[in-house]
Symmetry: C2
Subunit: 94 residues, 2 copies
């Protein structure tokens, strides 16, 4: 199960956003069901900062969304954004 | 280097789209610089079918975009789409 969480970050807030993400990544990768969790910058638009994630199954993603690091840090990220995070949850087909 | 290529597929064209993707995936994963190449379906919208890809570096992505399987199959996919594929190329930051 993969997650793409795309953020359009205000230019003056990129450093603050990355600082908040650092802790979120550090804690998320320690979760038992986390296969991958990284923050990526769009090559042609430095304000697009996207979490690309892989979780073992739906319950491990649910646990992540209830985790203390997620519920504490995710709301703080919104202050850095031009608009709400676009979240897509994907299942592998091919 | 990761690529997210998001497609909104016409409901009646999903099977045709997947059949075309099958060959594209089979050939792409054989490329030397391909770390990952899969087709994923959005959990809440079965018409969103997205390639989630990882390439060793920029030159391996360039080689992919020039490959025979890509240049032959990608144009055929467009006949299945509601709108043009949204392609994002990402570099890891965290």
């Amino acid at each position: 199960m993969k997650v793409v969480a795309k953020n359009q970050v205000k230019p003056e807030k990129i450093q603050e956003f990355m600082d908040l993400c650092k802790k979120l990544v550090e804690e998320s990768v320690k979760e038992e069901g986390c296969i991958e969790y990284g923050v990526y910058q769009e090559s042609e638009n430095s304000g697009i900062l996207t979490m690309l994630e892989e979780w073992k199954d739906e319950s491990s993603l649910d646990e992540h969304l209830k985790s203390r690091h997620f519920t504490e840090i995710f709301p703080l990220l919104s202050g850095c954004l031009e608009k709400e995070t676009e979240i897509s949850v994907y299942r592998k087909k091919l």
